[in-house]
């Protein structure tokens, strides 16, 4: 490993010298052709951000007409590979597939436009990898897709892509076949070799597109093997032939011919024997050979484990690890180690699996293999082998689980930490950190009683632990939060006591300073702004928290102004605002001075927080009607995005005010333009999510306002809503990317709004919120619903008890006509929510009273089952639908809209089940007990009922 570290350092060193050159690049004399290779090397070594930097520098040079055209081409090719990388990580399968398709098209274009360049040839050679990715993403999309029409489309798309690739390669081989054997045509021979090899690979990747039992899969695997064998005849002495053997092994594995697979991989591994051995018996192979051997060793280890030979798998992994120098640097070296850990677990050798996992963590502490090592340790926690993992490791696993949003698992891990820490020299540290983590889980769930108790217990049981002060501060926050919601002395006194403990025992803790201002803040919370301002102003200059007290005073005066304005006292309000403005401006100046005198990051963070509050309060003053200076908001907030770039909540606040000011100035579009520019500028949009939410809500409101002012301006309103949808999605994307940060309520609110906007786009009647009875008159605009369904799915996953989210999820799927998925979602809902009495005799009145939405959802479930039953010709599902409608008819108020709907679907389902006689009796009785031609039915249903009556009459012979 030492060598590897040295190599990496040397490379980074080269980069350090290279980067300023790039940054300062003014001419092609500095950025030359070699930079293409340099950028490619950066990309291949995983420094994608740096590679991107080089590419951007070239784009700039290109725009100035100063770039070398071949180098620009190089950069384009690397840029396409970078896009593929980004696509690979995208969890949205549809988007992933789309991006890969675009990249393939761009690569094919590059190849056709520059066929004789090295870049063109290289791009052509790596095209099969892009096809493999396309095949994999299509396969993944197919696995999740239940809509038969979409399945067909996806299949056709995949077929077409692979067919195009294979045809292209075959044509190329035909062209080169004769040419390559002519004199001086060595280059053509190399091209032929690459094309032949790629044809074999493409056949193999293509085969994976089909399920195991599909004959096409077998045919393609046979073609792949035959192609690689042909390749071997012509190019048996090439390294590429060894790689071909590796692929033949994969083909045989797919065909369940394991001995043949092992034989091929052993052949690849045996290539090392052509190299000299050192004193430790390691073969001095080239890095490219080490990569190939590592891939074969990995496959061998995996297959041996899969086939129930874990001991042999472990030996195979050890053979690789001990016979190749620097095994961790080989392409699949760490993967071999991870596979070994799995084999050790399969062999019930948890102790050794733990050692291997620790080795992975040590070799790749912050990377994916380190995470994999922690996963292995996580699997060992709580199993029979729990004793072999120490508290520190379990704590790390707990923190990883928390970071990944696995909250139940985190709670379990914490209990294991507490158990394992007993008697340990660092029990206090582990115990306090574990309980601090547990408290955070509850706080994340919004269960502040549990959270406050656990934080208290962390301090109570482990007062000398590293996280004890953090736990007290967190407990104080929880009680403050509870008190804010409930205004109860019980919480207030606990908040105060924790504050006192914090300041007495940990006076230097960042939260301690704010405790001293707590009393004044409480006055603010009680609406006693003038008294609060006086108390804040009583803190003498030089005291800890003086600057924050100044900000507090300014903020209290501002709130006083707001209160006076609400009391219709504009003159007094204006005076309070003026006083607040003066106070805040002085506070900001004092904060700037104080910041220049401290290097303590905790203190600087405190000042930064106060500075933000001052800035925001000042801007809020200018936006008030009593002050009327919206243009000053924009001036005040200039540069604020950069200053508070790391604070996403802060950015949200800044944009809220900026948008309010722009709205007041009648320039909302300018805010959008500015924000869009920021989006383009920043590749990571995490920090802009809050601001996107603000814009989304502003656009959403604007659409409503447009319609309110003039109901005919639907186009303008829809345009605003379309933009709002994009911003809404942007606002929650970080929560989807990092589930630990997910706020269920916010995700649910956005999902709900998207569902509603989707209804608006698709002409669902305003009084309806259901897909029952809705029929699209044109091709449905499903984007908002698709996204709503995705968001609801996440909410349900993270907050399974949330029945409203479950209804929303089913409803979104229903609007998308994904009947089977929707039926499954509703079935889960009603599995959880016991709408029916235990004896199924009717609806449970308590549930109906507490959760009335469930009754409508029950109807929707019935419709989904009926639709699925019809599509799949499933008698069971149709019978279930009938059962649901029967229950609804029997348990809803006669002639209520719900009753009418249930009645219609009850009879319709009988008809669809071929039970024409009962359907006929049903429709006849309905008409008799209501009115002729169903005159009393809700508007939309009348025509449907009449049509159903006609349909039934055609099937029944009247006597």
């Amino acid at each position: 490993m030492q060598m590897d570290v040295m190599k990496r350092l040397a490379f980074v060193g080269a980069l350090v010298f290279a980067t300023p050159a790039i940054a300062l690049a003014q001419s092609s004399a500095i950025l030359g052709r070699d930079d293409g290779a340099f950028a490619r090397q950066l990309y291949e070594r995983g420094w994608t951000d740096l590679a991107e930097g080089v590419i951007k520098a070239y784009e700039k040079l290109d725009a100035e007409g100063k770039a070398d055209p071949l180098a620009v081409l190089d950069m384009q090719a690397i840029g396409l590979d970078l896009r593929l990388d980004v696509a690979r990580r995208d969890s949205d399968l549809v988007r992933r597939k789309q991006v890969i398709t675009e990249v393939i098209a761009a690569k094919e274009k590059l190849v056709s436009e520059h066929p004789r360049t090295q870049v063109g040839r290289d791009t052509r050679d790596n095209l099969p990898d892009a096809y493999r990715m396309l095949g994999e993403s299509l396969t993944a999309a197919l696995a999740k897709e239940s809509d038969p029409a979409k399945v067909t489309t996806l299949r056709e798309e995949g077929e077409a892509a692979f067919a195009r690739a294979e045809t292209g390669l075959k044509e190329r081989l035909a062209t080169l076949k004769e040419l390559r054997i002519e004199e001086n045509q060595a280059a053509a021979d190399v091209q032929y070799m690459n094309a032949l090899f790629n044809l074999g690979r493409t056949h193999y990747f293509h085969s994976r597109f089909y399920p195991a039992a599909d004959p096409k899969r077998g045919q393609l695997l046979a073609s792949a093997i035959s192609t690689f064998e042909d390749f071997s005849l012509d190019y048996g002495d090439r390294l590429l032939n060894v790689e071909g053997m590796y692929y033949i092994g994969l083909c045989y594995k797919s065909m369940s011919q394991y001995d043949d697979a092992f034989e091929r991989w052993d052949y690849v591994i045996s290539v090392r024997e052509g190299y000299e051995q050192d004193a430790q018996g390691r073969y001095d192979v080239m890095p490219e050979v080490a990569d190939l051997i590592s891939r074969s060793a990995l496959q061998k280890v995996l297959l041996l484990t899969e086939t129930g030979k874990p001991q042999e798998a472990i030996e195979a992994a050890d053979d690789f690890w001990t016979k190749i120098p620097d095994p961790a640097t080989a392409g699949s070296g760490l993967a071999v180690l991870a596979a070994k850990a799995d084999a050790q677990l399969a062999a019930n050798d948890a102790g050794s699996a733990g050692d291997t996992a620790r080795q992975l963590i040590a070799l790749d502490p912050s990377g994916p293999w380190g995470s994999r090592g922690r996963e292995v340790l996580g699997r060992m926690i709580g199993g029979a082998s729990g004793a072999s993992i120490g508290p520190e490791e379990i704590l790390r696993v707990a923190q990883t689980d928390f970071g990944q949003g696995k909250f139940d698992q985190t709670l379990d891990d914490v209990q294991h930490v507490l158990q394992a820490a007993k008697g340990d020299a660092k029990e206090q540290d582990y115990g306090s950190s574990a309980l601090y983590l547990m408290g955070q889980v509850y706080a994340k769930r919004g269960w502040f009683h549990e959270a406050s108790l656990v934080f208290d217990t962390a301090f109570e049981l482990y007062p000398r632990g590293a996280d004890a002060p953090n736990a007290i501060a967190a407990a104080m926050d929880c009680y403050a939060r509870l008190n804010r919601d409930e205004k109860r002395p019980f919480y207030k006194s606990r908040q105060k006591e924790r504050g006192q403990s914090l300041t007495a025992k940990y006076p230097t803790h960042p939260a301690a300073a704010s405790v001293q201002l707590g009393e004044a803040r409480e006055l603010v919370a009680d609406g006693k702004f003038v008294e609060a301002a006086k108390l804040f102003q009583g803190v003498p200059p030089g005291a800890v928290g003086y600057e924050e007290a100044e900000v507090g005073a300014g903020n209290a005066l501002y709130r006083q102004g707001i209160a006076l304005a609400a009391d219709k006292k504009p003159a007094e309000a204006k005076a309070a605002f003026t006083q607040a403005e003066t106070t805040l401006k002085k506070a900001m100046a004092d904060l700037a001075t104080a910041k220049s005198k401290s290097l303590d990051p905790a203190v600087l963070a405190r000042y930064s927080g106060a500075e933000y509050t001052a800035l925001m309060t000042l801007a809020s003053i200018y936006v008030q009607d009593a002050v009327g200076r919206p243009e000053d908001v924009l001036k005040t907030l200039e540069g604020a995005d950069e200053r508070f770039a790391n604070d996403s909540k802060g950015i949200e606040g800044i944009w809220t005010l900026r948008i309010r000011a722009q709205e007041k100035l009648g320039k909302l579009e300018e805010a959008i333009t500015q924000f869009d520019a920021l989006l383009v500028k920043q590749s990571d949009h995490t920090g802009l999510a809050g601001a996107a939410g603000v814009l989304a809500r502003a656009l959403d409101q604007r659409a409503l306002d447009i319609l309110k002012a003039d109901a005919s301006k639907t186009e303008a309103a829809d345009s605003s809503w379309h933009k709002a949808v994009g911003y809404y999605l942007l606002s929650v994307q970080p929560q989807l990317d990092t589930r630990a940060n997910a706020k269920f309520a916010e995700l649910e609110a956005v999902a709900k709004r998207l569902l509603e906007i989707g209804m608006r786009f698709n002409g669902v009647a305003e009084e309806s919120n259901s897909f029952v009875g809705w029929r699209s008159e044109k091709t449905a605009d499903t984007q908002a619903w698709e996204k709503a369904a995705q968001l609801y799915e996440v909410v349900v996953e993270l907050d399974p008890a949330n029945y409203r989210a479950r209804i929303g999820y089913g409803r979104a799927l229903g609007f998308l006509a994904r009947w089977k998925d929707a039926a499954a979602a509703y079935a889960s809902l009603f599995d959880q929510e016991k709408l029916l009495k235990p004896d199924k005799s009717g609806f449970n009145p308590e549930v109906v009273s507490n959760r009335p939405e469930l009754v409508n959802a029950y109807l929707e479930w019935g419709v989904c089952e009926a639709e699925t039953g019809l599509l799949e010709k499933s008698a069971d599902r149709q019978a279930r639908a009938s059962e649901i409608f029967d229950k609804l008819v029997a348990n809803t108020l006669n002639k209520s809209p719900l009753w009418w709907n249930a009645k219609y679907h009850q009879i319709r389902t009988l008809y669809e089940r071929g039970m024409y006689e009962p359907a006929d009796v049903g429709i006849g009785t309905l008409e008799r007990v209501t009115a002729k031609d169903f005159a009393d039915a809700p508007t939309g249903l009348k025509a449907l009922l009449i049509a159903l009556r006609t349909d039934i009459s055609k099937k029944v012979v009247k006597r």
Binding site: S385, S388, Q415, G423, L453, A801
Partner: protein, 372 residues
């Protein structure tokens, strides 16, 4: 025979309210039963003080582990055991602990074929088999299996729990007299005063279930001062005594006893039981006085059992269920007393959330019947 729901409910309520059965149960459930094979031939016992002891375990008795050439190790000091060279046994126990009883029982049967299988493993398999039968509501078969444990492994690791299992089975069959008789017989046959005292906790539980606190109390007192028994027997005795005090109307005495228990290094379920006991007292007083603050104090007592002292998989969940139900009830009581409409709803929602959690995690929990 299959347990009727009502008998099961009654039975589990008894278990949870007085928690005495956990005294010995925790010796089995709280400690991972088996662990991965170690490379050496010796078993490794991880101790609660962070140290470990390597020894060849010869027998696992009701009160301690006995190893060749090593002093006995009390179960009080045991954190976990790693058995040497026991991959198949470990796998079967893992399946059992994960609740995959069918798979575990199949593996147990295969293991029993091995003539060289260690006695400690045979003992554990015999008990886990009985436990699995009971979990699957095969009461008669479970009783027979527990009796077999008593007969084949007298004074073994699972002796007290087997007596408890027999009593539970008979109670499930509405045969309280038979249960009392079986426990008395086991006490008489114990042949060890400390073991007899531990079995006495099972009897005490049966008496408490019949509201015979005066008769139960001496048994709890005896357990709390038992000589030669694991410390957890003493803690259970103290918990039972405090519970009796509260049931007899001596809330102040009970509160003192519960509070003193919360301050000792007792097993998690005992601590949860003590906090639940305090929750019961404060909640009772809070309701009588219509005092929201006191109800919140009670709530915070119950919450200990749902958070910090929540059980791990394989540990007894009864105190956890009781704590969840207690917290739901407290939220509900506060909601009843709260005049403000919004806050009333807030507390009612909180009560429902805890109720839903209980329902989700323990769909057949007897405590659900206590909740509105």
């Amino acid at each position: 025979m299959t347990l009727s729901t009502s008998t099961m409910v009654k039975n589990r309520l008894l278990l949870a309210s007085f928690s005495v059965v956990g005294a010995i149960a925790c010796l089995g459930l709280g400690v991972p039963s088996a662990s991965a094979q170690t490379k050496e031939d010796k078993d490794v016992v991880q101790l609660r003080d962070g140290k470990s002891a390597s020894l060849s375990i010869e027998s696992e008795n009701w009160d301690a582990i006995v190893g060749k050439g090593s002093p006995p190790i009390s179960w009080d000091n045991v954190q976990a055991i790693s058995y040497a060279n026991a991959p198949e046994f470990t796998k079967a126990i893992d399946a059992f602990n994960a609740g995959n009883y069918d798979s575990a029982l199949t593996q147990f049967e295969a293991l029993k074929e091995d003539a060289k299988l260690r006695k400690v493993f045979k003992q554990q398999i015999a008990f886990d088999t009985a436990l699995a039968l009971a979990e699957n509501d095969k009461v008669d078969e479970a009783i027979a299996a527990y009796q077999d444990v008593l007969k084949t492994y007298p004074k073994g690791r699972y002796h007290v729990r087997a007596v408890d299992g027999i009593a539970n089975g008979l109670i499930a069959k509405n045969d309280t007299a038979g249960a009392m008789k079986a426990v008395d017989a086991a006490t008489a046959d114990a042949g060890d005063p400390a073991l007899a005292t531990a079995i006495g906790l099972v009897k005490a539980r049966l008496l408490v279930a019949q509201n015979k606190y005066a008769e139960a109390k001496p048994l709890f007192v005896a357990a709390s001062s038992a000589q030669g028994a694991p410390a957890s027997v003493g803690f259970e005795g103290q918990l039972g005594q405090a519970t009796c005090l509260f049931q007899e109307g001596n809330a102040a005495g009970a509160e003192t006893a519960f509070r003193s228990l919360t301050k000792v290094d007792a097993p998690k379920h005992v601590l949860a039981g003590a906090w639940n006991g305090l929750g019961d007292i404060l909640s009772d007083q809070g309701r009588k006085k219509k005092d929201i603050d006191q109800l919140l104090d009670a709530l915070y007592c119950y919450l200990r059992g749902t958070t910090v002292y929540a059980p791990l998989a394989g540990e007894s969940g009864l105190q956890y269920e009781r704590a969840l139900a207690g917290s739901a009830l407290c939220f509900g009581y506060v909601s009843d007393l709260e005049p403000n409409k919004d806050r009333k709803k807030l507390y009612s929602d909180r009560a429902n959330e805890r109720k839903e959690l209980l329902k989700k995690e323990f769909p057949t929990s007897p405590f659900l019947k206590l909740l509105r």
